[in-house]
């Protein structure tokens, strides 16, 4: 059983390497195959890192192009997805930096869209009233980025520091601040929901 698994794994790795070599050689069909394999994931990461939908779509396209163009640098030490994640994060963050060159203007506005706006009736899910994307939308960019890199992509604080060109201490501070703000949002949602429920009953 063990050897069968190993054989399958080796086969998958070899197939991935072969795919990436074909992409690097400019094989249009291979490019399309790789793009289809990664597009949904790249799109989701971009959407989570950026608040603006149009920016996210633009950044996702740029990230996919970067991935296709960097295919020659792929080594089989990690999965294609993990390798592509780093390129996606770097590209999207670069895009985000270009978009916000002003130090304090609107970027620090917490989008409270629907913050206190919990449903009038009990939420369908007993546990959370809102999808996680809604919460992410409400965090300032720097906090949202570290939160996504930590909890969606599983990077360590050191890896995040490297990807964002920030000191580890800054990353830790932002991560804790992001978690505190998220907690505040979740707690507030629950409180408002309870109050409205009380009124309607």
């Amino acid at each position: 059983m063990h050897s069968v698994m190993n054989t399958l794994m080796d086969g998958a790795v070899a197939a991935d390497l072969s795919l990436m070599k074909r992409v690097a050689a400019g094989d249009k069909h291979a490019q399309r195959v790789l793009a289809h394999r990664l597009a949904a994931r790249v799109g989701r990461i971009s959407q989570r890192l950026l608040r603006n939908r149009a920016d996210a779509e633009d950044a996702a396209q740029m990230a996919l192009i970067e991935i296709l163009r960097s295919s020659g640098t792929y080594k089989d030490i990690s999965s294609i997805e993990r390798w592509a994640d780093r390129i996606t994060v770097r590209t999207v963050l670069r895009h985000a930096r270009d978009q916000r060159r002003k130090p304090w203007h609107f970027s620090s506005l917490v989008d409270v869209e629907s913050l206190g706006a919990a449903p009038e009736e009990p939420a369908q899910s007993e546990e959370t009233a809102r999808p996680v994307e809604d919460y992410l939308q409400e965090l300032p960019a720097a906090r949202r980025e570290v939160l996504v890199m930590k909890h969606s992509l599983g990077y360590t604080t050191e890896e995040i520091a490297e990807l964002t060109d920030n000191p580890v201490g800054t990353v830790k501070d932002r991560l804790v601040a992001a978690r505190k703000q998220l907690r505040k949002l979740i707690t507030r949602d629950a409180r408002v929901r309870a109050r409205d429920l009380e009124k309607t009953s």
Binding site: R41, K102, P119, L182, V192, K199
Partner: protein, 556 residues
Amino acid sequence: MSEAHNGFEHWATLMDRQAAGEQLTAVELAFCERFASEHPACREELVVYEQLASDLDVQPNEASRALVDATLKRMEAEEAKSAFAELGLLRKRRVPMLALASAVAAVAALFTLYLHRAPKREDSDLRMAQSVPVSRVELVYASGQVQVAGEAATVGRTFLREGSVIETEEGSACVLIDPDINVCLAARSRLRLSQITSNARRLDLLVGKASTRLATQPEGMSLSIVADGIASTAVGTAFSVERSADGRAVVTTVLNGKVRVGHADDTRIVTAHERSVVLGSRADLTSVSRVEEAPSWALLGPTVLWHDPVSATLELHGTPVQAQALLDDQLIGVAPLSSLIPVGSHHLVVRNGEQVLIDRELHVTAGETAEIAYALPAPAAPTPDAVTKLDAPAAKLDARSNEQNAKLLTKEQLAPAPALPEEPNSAQAPKTAAQWLAEARKLMREGRFAEAASSYQTIMQQFPDTETARTVLVSLGQLQLVQLQAPELALHSLDNYLTRGGSLAEEARVARIHALSTMHRDADEAAAIDEFLVKHPRSLEAAALRARLATLRGVR
């Protein structure tokens, strides 16, 4: 503080430490596990993190397929462009010296000829002016209350001439100036067409905000929007000019291309995605984000309706005013509305909040005017909307086959409107606040900000005593501030919230500070920051706001 509260604080601190990479002790881990299992608040938080970690591996879907197509196309275009550029460079390098020498000789010969034959400068200018055809200037869009020279304005019937003043109340208006200059005026604005027949066209922004998009102008022609003596002169571009509420600052935001901004002898070039703020003798240049540009682009949104010179006119009016009009699923404005539209078939929807007043196909031919009236249906027997075709009797208006509540009428048939039989399935349960809220969120995600604002307002009107109605004031305030770029309205919403109080006071105060900043009310902004720092000294925004306060005090 209760024991449970202290426990939650302790649990949260431990979880944050762990997330930041710290190893917890076995005792701490055991506490976290036990506490979370007993407290729903912890569970809610953990579920959010589980969601964050779990669903990155989404299956390919329509959106991802579209992303792939767009990406590959973009990549191909970029490669073709770079190949073309390379080719161009190579060709340049291969220009033979002989050809270069011939060109120099030819230019020299032409210049000599010019020196002998060129007329005097005045004659030349006169000839240039004569060669430029007289500009056509037209009102092509009027949404809400729009006046020209004090009279209510209608597309196709209001004549614009040099010196005309266009004024908007709650609504917007656009004029089209040959060749291909679109100028749109925001709500509560006033614009004078000061010079439109000379090569140097000049529009004076007396109050409010105007955005413009124009094609590259012919040699020798220019367009300037002047506000308080500050001219913003286009060089083939899109930009907006706005006067602050107190009239002291002139803000020019460049969306595309370049604009020369300043007084006659003291100008600077502002390029795309930059904003110039001129306040007295002080001029600042800053970068602007896409989000900040969005309201200026939105103001230019209707210009897509008259790209094609072969157009028809849509006139829409009725009660209630401010009903939203959607043409082919795009919001084109609020009623009363008068606009050029492309000829052909369209899908027209008019709605008041969530209530659909008109939903039908509309077919218009070149030059015709479709006048459409609507009314709120009576509760028991809904009144149908009515349509009158004024200028083209042969034009065809097709009712949608599945449309039950709309009927086409001639103008004579308009009153009294006949009642339609009630639809057995038409009785819908009224929406709850939560449903309105979900609708507002959806509209926000889709970038349909004016409609989202309308949904928020519906919550406030229909559910005034709920917590939700109170908290959406903050959402609405932010929406008015950022997306709709209406800081005065935002200030009103936020002040309304803060007067009543609530748990979003911190966020409301931050937004309020931004609103005051946008309106360049420095002293009020400084006072608002002072108040914020007293009330929320440990806020995550405090450091940035202290820095802002120092800048403000330094400036003053």
